[in-house]
Every structure is written in C-alpha cells, then in structure tokens.
C-alpha cells in the first residue's frame, strides 16, 4: 500500500467493512428463501444470489485482512452486533416476497452503481474486486427489475403490494447512503467519490425504473441512519446468533 498513509488505510477500512457486512447480511437473508421460494426458479435465484453475496463478502474481508484486520472467518463470525456496519435495510427479516423483491431491487441497484464507481478507485485491489463484482451484479439487477416491472404492472393486488413494500423500504434504502466519517479522505485519495455521489446516481436510475413500473416514490421521507455507526434494529442480533451457531460450537468445523 505504498501510496496509502495511515489515514487512507483507516478510511478504506471503513468503506470495505460496510460493503463486506452488507454483502454478508443480505447473503444470509437471501439464503432464507432456499427451500421456500414461491416457485422453483425463484428459490434458485435467491439461493444463487446468496452465494454470490457471500462469496463477495469473503473477498472483501480478505482485503481487510491484507490491511491488518483479522481473517475473514474471525471477522464474520466473532464480532458483536455493534461492530457491524451493515445498513438497516438488509437486516430486516425477509418478510413477504414483495418486500424481499423491493429490497433486492433498491439495494442491488445501489451496489451496481457502487461497483461501477469503484472500478476507477486508486486502491487497485479494491478496483479489481469491483470490476469482478460488476460482472456478477448485472444478473441480480436484471432479475430484480424483471420482477419489479412484471408485478407492478400485474393486477391490482400485485401493484398494491409492490407500492406498499416500496413505501416501507424507501427510508431504509436511503439509509444505505449514510455518510461515513471518512468521506473527505476517501475522495481526496481518489479511493471513492463518496456516498452522496452514489446516492444521486442511484436515485436517477431507480426513479426511471420505478416510474416505468408505475410506482410512486414516497415523498417527504427521512432516511433511516445508524447501521453504518453500529446502531442496529432488533433484527440483527437474532440473525447473527443463527449465522454463528456452528462456529460458536466449534470454530475449526469445516462445512
């Protein structure tokens, strides 16, 4: 990391921690549809996306390991709730399928823009991962948008369900972009342009697709922040308890 000073390393860690935690937590939530999907193809879709997200989180944790943090398993399985930096949107239970689909759409559209931006990062190893993930996420956004358009223009019930799910998810989705403490440092070092730029680009893209689907973005909504700073909803701890169950019994278990 020759171009990095300590300040840059800390800022990069902040950014990567929140990305890795987002991937791990949504990966776990997606896997909860395994065996329960409304149709076989959807069961497979959410299971595949879970696998992609978990794989991506592992590579991001490996990057943190290169920057001096503990190894991937230790970081993923031994931290307390208040040491996680995922946004609230992802820790919520899967709910009904409409909520899972809307969350999937709103979050993955943000991921796609984030990876696109990070391909240009001065932090080369992060840029290489972003380039790889960018190729994978296009299938996730394609899946999300296909269902969004289909269900929002289906019948009265499906349209109402999608609108209600959007109303519920929107303030949480805005929480994805909760600014970190190191936005200026990341920008100054050309590591990442920052959450505000990401949010503006995301808003433009999702607005166009939601309009096309005939859905209305709720107005006058306050973003739900806290996740990036380690303050979480009541739903995260039970998820962590379940996720770390095997590891807690036997940290050397292989599965």
């Amino acid at each position: 990391m020759d171009f990095f000073n300590d300040k840059h390393v800390e800022a990069a860690k902040d950014l990567i921690y929140k990305m890795a935690d987002d991937q791990l937590i949504i990966g776990h939530r997606n896997s909860e549809w395994t065996g329960l999907g409304p149709i076989l193809e959807e069961d497979i879709a959410f299971s595949s996306m879970a696998q992609d997200k978990l794989g991506q989180s592992e590579h991001l944790y490996n990057l943190l390991h290169e920057l001096g943090e503990a190894d991937a398993d230790t970081v993923a399985f031994t931290r307390n709730e208040n040491q996680f930096h995922c946004c609230h949107l992802l820790e919520l239970p899967i709910g009904e399928y409409d909520f899972s689909l809307i969350r999937h759409f709103l979050f993955d559209m943000a991921e796609a823009v984030r990876f696109e931006m990070l391909v240009e990062s001065s932090y080369e190893n992060l840029a290489l991962l972003a380039k790889k993930f960018k190729g994978e996420i296009k299938y996730h956004t394609m899946h999300a948008n296909t269902w969004l358009q289909q269900l929002a223009t289906g019948n009265e019930e499906s349209k109402a369900r999608m609108q209600n799910a959007l109303n519920e998810a929107w303030p949480l989705a805005l929480g994805i972009f909760e600014p970190g403490d190191s936005e200026d440092v990341l920008k100054e070092a050309s590591i990442f342009e920052g959450e505000a730029v990401l949010e503006a680009k995301w808003l433009e893209e999702v607005t166009a697709l939601l309009n096309k689907a005939g859905l209305t973005i709720p107005a006058g909504v306050t973003a739900e922040y806290g996740g990036r700073k380690g303050k979480h909803t009541a739903h995260l701890q039970p998820l962590l308890d379940e996720m770390t169950e095997v590891y807690s019994i036997d940290p050397t278990a292989d599965w």
């Binding site: 193809e41 497979i44 879709a45 299971s47 595949s48 996306m49 696998q51 992609d52 997200k53 978990l54 794989g55 991506q56 592992e58 590579h59 190893n125 290489l128 991962l129 380039k131 790889k132 993930f133 190729g135 994978e136 296009k138 299938y139 394609m142 899946h143 948008n145 296909t146």
Partner: protein, 167 residues
C-alpha cells in the same frame, strides 16, 4: 542444489493442467475454461500457478486449487508446487477456448455469447439451443444449478436447457 533430470517449462505445465477438470462441468479443463492466468517454473522445477475465479462465490475454486497441486505433485522431479487466486486478470467468458466451447456444447450447455461488455436485458434471450441449434428460445431464469449457468427453454424442440452465462 539437487540435480533434476527433467526440466519443465510453462507449456509443459499448461499441458498437464489440461487434465484438471472443472468439478462442476467435468468435460472442460481449467485451461480451456481460461482460469489459469499465470504459470511460472524455476530451474529447480518449483511451480507457481495463479488462478482467477469465474465467480467470486464459486465453491469449486478451492477444490480446483487442490486438484492443481495434486496433479503437478505426481510429476517426476517436480519441486515445490504453490497455487494462489488473484483478481489481477478479471475472468470473462471470452477467455473460454474454442475447445472449451465445444466441450460445453457436448455437455448440453449452450456456450456463452462473446464480447458482452455491457449486458442488455435481452442478451440471454435468443441463446441457441444446444440440442437443435434453434434460436427460437427464451430465458427462463438468469440463475441455474450453479452460479455460472442460466435456464432456458427451446420453443422449437420443446426442451429445457441450460446455458453458460456470459460475464
């Protein structure tokens, strides 16, 4: 220094690695799949192989690393064999060789379209059927039994088939 009777070069090693198959798609070798991005051999026959993942979450990657080591360690006079994974070369389906594409087709998997830089929604929609070659097919789901496959249906021969999805 130990004397070695047989000295291997990069191309020898590459040929041996053609015997290492992708555990999820056994007819295709890791060389034809395009994931072997670097091979270096020292004058003591120490070999280092670099692999690039097809998908970040590919569970077969670790197995393939082990298979590389297992195959090369069987060679006479071989030195130390090491393998690492690196994203330095980003794998794309364009890196699958002609032989690899043929192997996919024989396995009943539609080979990926080439040079798909930015994917539009319809990129998977007219994937040629591996059974009857018809392009009158439709995408059922971009997600299949493994991360690298998609599900399709052929309107011509009325069969479901899988494709290797372009990345």
């Amino acid at each position: 220094m130990a004397k070695v009777d047989t000295l291997y070069n990069e191309s020898d090693i590459r040929n041996f690695l053609k015997e290492v198959k992708d555990p999820e798609i056994p007819p295709i070798s890791i060389v034809d799949l395009g994931i072997v991005t670097k091979i270096s051999v020292t004058d003591q026959n120490d070999v280092h192989v670099t692999l690039t993942p097809t998908f970040a979450g590919c569970p077969a990657l670790k197995i393939m690393e082990d298979l590389v080591i297992e195959r090369l360690q069987k060679l006479d006079d071989i030195g130390e064999v090491t393998v690492n994974t690196s994203f330095e070369t980003t794998w794309t389906t364009d890196m699958i060789s002609e032989d690899g594409r043929k192997a996919l087709l024989q396995h009943g998997l539609a080979p990926p379209k080439q040079n798909v830089g930015y994917m539009e929604l319809d990129v998977l929609s007219d994937t040629p059927c591996p059974y009857c070659s018809s392009r009158n097919t439709m995408l059922k789901s971009p997600f299949g039994p493994t991360l690298c496959r998609s599900l399709h249906y052929c309107n011509n021969c009325k069969q479901a088939f899988e494709g290797f999805k372009p990345v």
